[in-house]
């Protein structure tokens, strides 16, 4: 059965027209080599996005952009300015400093294992890593840059253009920028701590104090009610009574507008917690000891405080053991495995 020539011509033209009207830019071809994640034993593979394949080229581009100060239009701030690799991709100060001395509103969280996070930011305001990229770009206290201007600046770099074309088949644009940065962050997996070695059967990996701390963590201290699972977070939002004044930062309520969410923030991972001081959403606690004292007290009497936040009656020795255990959660290898 054969179509007559006019039919073939119309079919061909229709096909051409349709090929040119896709909403999403063309991604890399199906044969593009994929990046091999270093997934720790016992951990599930992180959820990846079908519309943003984790290709080697996109990850390489993302890493190049992560350390590129042109994201702040050349004003000295890159992603790495506030997410230091040596600090499990967190910052060393309570509130990060952005362009022209701008002070951020919250403590910069670790990026370890963000590939597993269903929502990003401490209030869960970003549904994907791709969309999260816009937040520091626009934020006046961070990069304060029009993303379109950033794209135009990056397009002047032949190396980035070459990487962009290799990764996404086209020069830099907002799509390429957000996809590549998201993919690089997806590769930042931990799971190489002494605690992990202990779980994998090395009985000598934790000392006595750390073992006692681990028992408290899952037992009397009740930490594991929220810091649960391989990444030690329930990915939920809790008010833990660190402050009674939420006018400046209502937390999850900022997104939901629900008064019951006032003062709630996302449970952070505790992995690499020894590297990520200061602590809490506002960086208001300087040391792990201070954090444990807070939880032991049961927190301030906030009306939205989580019912699990009650005085723990831990002794001073027990608190030290808990801190010792938390220190065993530090990865022994770099989170960054991108060449």
């Amino acid at each position: 059965m054969r179509l007559q020539r006019p039919a073939l011509i119309v079919s061909f033209l229709a096909g051409l027209l349709l090929a040119g009207c896709t909403r999403e830019p063309a991604g890399p071809g199906p044969s593009a080599p994929l990046f091999t994640l270093r997934i720790p034993p016992g951990w599930p593979p992180p959820p990846l996005r079908a519309d943003n394949p984790l290709t080697v080229a996109s990850v390489e581009l993302g890493k190049a952009l992560f350390f590129d100060e042109r994201l702040s239009l050349g004003r000295g701030i890159s992603c790495a300015s506030c997410h230091h690799p040596a600090r499990a991709f967190s910052d060393t100060v309570a509130l990060s400093i952005g362009v022209e001395g701008g002070v951020g509103a919250r403590n910069a969280p670790s990026l370890a294992n963000v590939a597993y996070h269903p929502l990003l930011l401490r209030d869960g305001g970003a549904p994907t890593l791709e969309q999260q990229v816009f937040i520091p770009l626009f934020d006046e206290a961070e990069m304060d840059a029009d993303p379109q201007q950033v794209v135009e600046l990056l397009r002047t770099d032949p190396h980035l253009t070459e990487l962009s074309i290799r990764a996404f088949g086209k020069p830099m644009d907002l799509y390429v920028l957000t996809r590549s940065l998201a993919n690089y962050q997806r590769t930042l997996l931990g799971g190489t701590s002494r605690y992990d070695r202990f779980l994998q059967g090395d009985a000598t990996a934790l000392n006595e104090a750390e073992l006692r701390g681990m028992q408290l963590f899952t037992g009397a201290a009740n930490c594991a009610s929220c810091h649960v699972g391989f990444d030690q977070t329930d990915h939920d939002f809790h008010n833990i009574g660190t402050s009674l004044d939420h006018a400046a930062d209502p937390g999850r309520q900022r997104i939901s507008l629900d008064p019951a969410d006032r003062g709630k923030f996302k449970t952070p991972t505790l992995r690499n917690i020894a590297l990520t001081a200061p602590y809490m959403h506002d960086g208001s606690m300087s040391t792990l000891e201070e954090v444990v004292v807070h939880f032991n007290s049961g927190g301030l009497a906030d009306p939205n405080k989580d019912p699990l936040m009650v005085p723990l009656q831990l002794s001073a020795d027990q608190q030290q053991d808990l801190v010792a255990f938390l220190r065993s959660l530090t990865d022994e290898r770099s989170l960054d495995i991108v060449e």
Partner: protein, 257 residues
């Protein structure tokens, strides 16, 4: 078996498919085969107490306030003509900046009788949560709109800014700044305004949507007293944001012109 009819059918199918893949959400739907279309001239017109709005004037507002407006931008999403058995979407989302006076759009609409106009102020959930990186920069919801609320990965719905004075006897430039940005899904509002519009083959149709800015300050019951709260950016004082959203959508009308 004859395929003489195939080219026409394929062409129609291709046209229908192309109609569904437009990139700019403000572009009106293309003509539908077999349906008579007519041009519609849409005007979105700012008013103050029923008279044309003048941005250079200091206006008297409810609550003994003096108001000078310096910015008013908002999304209408969607704008619909509603007939007895049909709803025609004029656009799914468009951005209007009316501080300098009326704004015009030329649209296309099927011939017919319509009894009301449906409008949404702000962006419905699906549009509010789109990924900015997938939207052409110059589209109404693109990067260059200046409406993206990055901290929420959503959009501002209305930007309403200016200066105010709580002393109605003042004569100088109002001394205090107000800046009310509504957004977040809970601030999205819809309205249906009864309005008879007969679109015929013969003549260009005209539709004027008005926004009476004076009514942002009172609907006859509630008063927006800026001295009680002149800033809203979604982070605190949630009742203020919801009140502003309610008052603003009630200020829209459709005019007989």
């Amino acid at each position: 078996m004859s395929y003489a009819h195939v080219p026409v059918r394929l062409l129609l199918i291709a046209l229908v498919m192309l109609a569904g893949c437009r990139k700019d959400p403000a572009v009106p739907a293309p003509p539908v085969p077999g349906v008579d279309m007519q041009t519609l001239q849409l005007t979105v017109k700012p008013l103050w107490n029923g008279t044309p709005f003048d941005k250079d004037m200091v206006h008297a507002a409810a609550g003994d306030q003096r108001i000078k407006v310096t910015e008013l931008k908002f999304y209408l999403a969607p704008l619909q003509l509603i007939g007895s058995d049909t709803i025609v979407e004029l656009f799914d989302a468009d951005l209007f900046q009316v501080i300098n006076g009326p704004v015009h759009r030329t649209l296309s609409v099927p011939v017919g009788d319509y009894q009301s106009v449906g409008l949404g102020l702000g962006l419905p959930y699906a549009l509010n949560h789109r990924d900015l990186a997938t939207i052409p920069p110059n589209a109404p919801t693109g990067n260059n709109s200046g409406m993206y609320w990055s901290w929420a990965t959503m959009y501002r719905f209305v930007i309403f800014s200016g200066r105010f004075d709580s002393d109605p006897s003042g004569t100088d430039e109002p001394p205090f700044v107000f800046d009310l940005h509504t957004g977040l899904d809970t601030c999205y509002r819809t309205r249906t305004v009864p309005f008879n519009l007969n679109v015929t083959d013969d003549d260009t149709a005209r539709l004027t949507v008005s926004v009476d800015i004076a009514r942002f300050f009172s609907d006859g019951t509630e008063v927006l007293q800026l001295s009680d709260g002149a800033f809203w950016h979604g982070t605190d004082n949630i009742p203020l944001g919801l009140k502003v959203a309610d008052l603003q959508v009630a200020a829209f009308d459709v005019l007989e012109e």
